[in-house]
Symmetry: C2
């Protein structure tokens, strides 16, 4: 006689969806680079063969952090001014700037935000070329955009976006990074699997330490400033902790006054030009008795976290990997506090702001 042990489908393990989507990421990246590779190369070639005068990104929430990352790439690699635009210029004030020779890029998991749609419609009318990166190629944004990139993250069911974020980062890197960085893209899926395996244990310990924290500050610089903001947003969305994610430069211009023993500081840095400033911040925080840790390759170290990122990843691609431990952390802190990160209060998948 055998006894079958089954888990009834109706019993939801808190955070099961979010954890599954976090774990899926390296496989999704592989898919995006292979199945989606041809489309990415074609759009890239059109952009680089005749670069626009400027690139304007429009995005909200998590996708706006991917856009922040892309701002650096476009200015550094493509050599074109880039910035993030405010949709309310159009939706509230009816603004219509001259956008001839400008590429407007909408980044949106759902492709459905009415304010982004309104901005893209204005942009087309004002002469811009338009490109949408989305997880839904049937969406309103995809329909009105000159070109659309499918980020191929697959259906995202957890309310806190994870795989759509790294899918957006990866597509943006494939479009806008320099040739040297581009050559490192195919290694990312394997590196991502390693990061997830190495980080899980240390992150569980960190989550136990953060369990009773009312506030958490995150900080990084340059490309990784997108990671600091996105890590804070994940903690806010899943765990209701008051998390501030900042550029370390902005932090040093004021909110550094908030740092004391009651607020842990989580930094993101690895070997690269941003490491010096983060090392200074870690020292300053340490002098004040702040509980400071670093997610990185060991170039700068904090209180307990070991190196969880591989060495020799270019700073341009590091954001794709370094958000993985932060996503795990958000799920773990939520569960430790008795919340279900798959069912956060007050959030839905598509937010309809105008």
């Amino acid at each position: 006689m055998t006894v079958e042990v089954t888990t009834p489908a109706a019993v939801a393990v808190p955070g099961a969806r979010m954890r599954r989507e976090i774990a899926e990421q390296p496989a999704k990246w592989h898919d995006a680079l292979t199945r989606g590779g041809e489309e990415l190369r074609a759009v890239r070639a059109r952009i680089w063969n005749r670069p626009p005068k400027a690139v304007l990104f429009v995005a909200r929430g998590t996708s706006d952090h991917a856009a922040l990352y892309a701002n650096y790439l476009v200015q550094t690699a493509l050599g074109v001014p880039a910035a993030s635009a405010s949709p309310s210029v159009v939706t509230l004030y009816g603004g219509a700037p001259d956008l001839r020779d400008v590429l407007v890029v909408a980044v949106s998991q759902s492709g459905g935000s009415p304010d982004l749609v309104a901005f893209l419609e204005m942009a087309r009318a004002q002469g811009a070329a338009t490109l949408t990166l989305t997880n839904d190629t049937d969406s309103a944004l995809a329909r009105i955009s000159d070109e659309t990139i499918d980020i191929l993250a697959g259906r995202e069911t957890a309310v806190a976006a994870t795989k759509s974020y790294t899918g957006e980062l990866l597509a943006l890197a494939a479009l806008f990074a320099g040739e040297e960085t581009l050559a490192q893209l195919p290694a990312l899926p394997e590196l991502g699997e390693k990061v997830l395996a190495v980080a899980t244990g240390p992150v569980e310990e960190l989550a136990a330490r953060y369990r009773y924290a009312d506030r958490i500050m995150t900080a990084a610089r340059g490309y990784s400033s997108a990671t600091a903001r996105e890590a804070a947003l994940k903690l806010v969305e899943t765990s209701y902790v008051s998390a501030h994610g900042m550029s370390s430069a902005d932090l040093l211009h004021g909110p550094v006054a908030l740092l004391d023993q009651s607020v842990p500081l989580l930094c993101f840095t690895s070997a690269g030009p941003d490491a010096r400033e983060i090392a200074q911040l870690v020292d300053l925080a340490g002098e004040r008795g702040v509980d400071v840790d670093v997610i990185g390759d060991g170039t700068v170290t904090g209180r307990t976290l070991p190196a969880v990122l591989p060495r020799d990843v270019s700073p341009e691609l590091r954001p794709v990997l370094e958000i993985l431990p932060a996503q795990l952390l958000a799920a773990e802190v939520a569960v430790a506090r008795g919340y279900d990160p798959d069912a956060p209060r007050g959030l839905s998948k598509v937010t309809r702001t105008y």
Copy 2:
């Protein structure tokens, strides 16, 4: 026999400097519009007669909030794409985008931030026209810039910037607002005096209520989103409260989950296209039992604050006035908590980030 009562110079009243500089603002605006008026009109004429293809702002901290405000003005009134740039594109990664036909505007009270200087040097080399708004026309930024506007705020000695912020807003409005809005500028000094007089009492009551709050959220939309961010930064700098300032649209895309009875929400809105969304946010917050208040003209009301702003100020100029009650609030909350807002820990007037 007469008794002279004098206050010895050595006895500093906590917050005396910050309060004095808050109170000085309307007089400084008058000065900037009269003594500085000719220079503002000349630079304005050069910009409007031959508009650039795009405007890029570089700034840090408080001045970056003034730049955020100007982003909306430039896109709506001048009809040219505008955005805020990240200096670390240059200082960390050596990026050098093509900036021909682009106007790069540095906004800096001190004019001394090395990262802004590096960005402006790159911008000149890459073909940009450069303009600096500063309170120190002998500063490094002023020296390397094609044109410089003196914001004429006078020496700012409080560490938390107040009059330099509204001086920057006013100069940016004088340069980039439409003709109709421009006609309202001369009325601002008198309106500012009224706002300070009307707001002082209600703000003291609000400060008493916020005294024990660990966190405060501030929210606004469009032009006023600069106010929400700047109000939060003032609270952080002076009172060590964990204050988040957000666009209400970004708030509704995630951090709305943080709103509960333990976190007061302070909104900024008056009659204008942003009022509808703020009213929705106030209702949503009210349903959750959030302690919500509104600084505005009474178009949208919260829990206790009466209307402290005049009616019929255009949304484009409202940020100059609506930050006044928030500056007073920051000073009052700091003093109520036993801090001296003139001597915040860990802050100095010029932050040297690279």
